[in-house]
Symmetry: C2
Subunit: 328 residues, 2 copies
């Protein structure tokens, strides 16, 4: 099994990427192809000890910056780590591609180079969110910020295949994110999508309000990419702010500091369930290949977990499952 | 000062509403007009002791259910507590109207009966959110789920007036919620709104990603009502789920239980800053009268705080400030 990792992707590349890759090959039975500026990769690799036969390097002279417009990247940076990495996947020289780099560029490159699965009009970024019960799979997190009702139906079908295959849920429940439970709620998009889902997807359980996302009531949630992106980032920001707020309050009071020390291990477990880096890369579903997008701020642990997530997708034959679901 | 309160509004009406009203009149110098089914109000009032001259009752034979479509309410329930209450405001028999009932019906009744302020095309629901610095005012939370760019500019102007008047911020900073900081980000709505705001509002500081909402970086945030509603509900659900998760982890470990006890007072302070009921009612801005909408699940404390918020709006002449801002 061979996974290509974009060595230049993310706010802390190549350091965090390479540290994560080294952790991963020690833990999982995978070979990693690092794509990026070779001298920088070599230099970074020197800081680690690892089984040398499990890492390959493919040189890519160009780097896509985090905020470059995706269209420019596709047209002008044909030798970037993203483009060359996705091409390795296209040529079947590897089984999956992971990048913590420019999300828009990854989506564009994957769509353009790999093409779409038959039955899919727009790819979507999925994400595994923690919940009070089992983790919930939500799609789209921002690949498609002008979704049409039929895209949401396609996301529902792909989410179902993902949940069945990778998450091991034989009968996943799928909900549509909306501002009210009644089918009359939402904008034109949600009203039409509700109708389409009800008519075409037996696993559809109806609308779900945003305050229920983290309850675990649904296995899969579908939404437009703009709304999904906001949902994810609000959650991320809120968890961070609550953490800071709690620390600030605790520091004011010595008894509270003692209390916090006694709580430490329990809090570690609780934090683990809401830590995005535990879930690693977000799958880009709908393109004809396994592509995972990691958070720009990915820690080495997040990169390692993205590799674990990619391995799981390969192990479970996700791509062929997605294809047969969309052909049905 | 006279404030009309919808006695029948909310999931726990009239109990919570009346309990909150009784708390409020003991604390603030206001007279409350309770509008709703008189015998039920009388019966509920019997459970409390309070200065009788500070509560008046206006009978309204009809009740709007929480999920009735707003248009039906306006056409068919002309004697509901919402309609009669808003009419009291229209006839200048009181200074503000508060309801924890059907939000859509409140928005529709207020718009239809009171009319809009000159310069406003669609009303918006504002909300005060806690942050690591000062509370942030965000608008729209769901009155207008198909906002146009010019609506977002109007929301920005009204938010500025609110922040200056009620929150005491002479020079508020206004941000546009978006999925990226660059002006090229977002859907057509955000791109055009960004341009309009930049050209017409000196207090505009640019786009803000959703993970920064709770940092306090902006005093006011504007967004489409669909996105605002999702933002608010994700936050609410996440805080609730984290609370449950933390409790569950603590219960597993006796040392952690002790730690939690020592932390109790600090956590109470932290929780207070993220508790919606501390902020009470959400102002409906743009209609020609002071209308506040409370959460359907409002506790007595939330109702009391909504009355405090209404009093503050009256004290600061919010309505005339909004009118002069929109006329400028």
């Amino acid at each position: 099994m061979k996974i290509v990792v974009d060595a230049m992707g993310g706010d802390f590349a190549p350091q965090n990427v390479i540290a994560g890759v080294v952790e991963a090959i020690k833990e999982f039975d995978v070979t990693i192809v690092l794509v990026g500026i070779e001298p920088r990769i070599q230099e970074e690799l020197k800081k680690h000890s690892y089984p040398a036969d499990r890492i390959e390097i493919v040189h890519a002279p160009e780097v896509v910056e985090m905020h470059e417009p995706a269209t420019t990247v596709i047209r002008q940076k044909k030798n970037s780590s993203i483009t060359i990495g996705v091409n390795l996947l296209k040529e079947k020289k590897c089984d999956a591609f992971i990048s913590a780099g420019n999300t828009g560029a990854c989506v564009a490159a994957a769509t353009f180079i790999l093409g779409l699965i038959k039955g899919v009009d727009r790819p979507g970024i999925g994400c595994i969110l923690p919940s009070l019960l089992e983790p919930t799979f939500i799609i789209d997190m921002g690949a498609n910020t002008a979704a049409k009702p039929e895209h949401l139906l396609q996301y529902a079908k792909m989410a179902k295949a993902y949940a069945q295959t990778v998450l091991g849920r034989p009968q996943p429940k799928i909900a549509l994110l909306n501002i009210g439970e009644e089918e009359s709620k939402g904008t034109g998009l949600e009203k039409e999508a509700h109708k389409l889902l009800e008519e075409n997807e037996a696993a559809f359980i109806g609308n779900m309000e945003a305050n229920e996302i983290y309850t675990g009531k649904a296995d899969c949630i579908v939404c437009d990419g703009y709304v999904g992106n906001i949902t994810l980032k609000v959650s991320e920001g809120l968890v961070e702010s609550i953490g800071k707020l709690v620390k600030r309050e605790i520091k004011k009071n010595p008894i509270a500091i003692l209390g916090a020390l006694l709580l430490k291990s329990s809090m570690k477990d609780a934090r683990k369930s809401v830590d995005y880096s535990e879930y690693g890369g977000a799958p880009l579903l709908g393109v004809d290949g396994l592509v995972l997008i990691s958070h720009g701020r990915s820690s080495p642990k997040a990169i390692k977990n993205a590799i674990r997530a990619a391995k799981r997708e390969i192990d479970h034959n996700l791509l062929s499952k997605l294809k047969s679901e969309m052909a049905a």
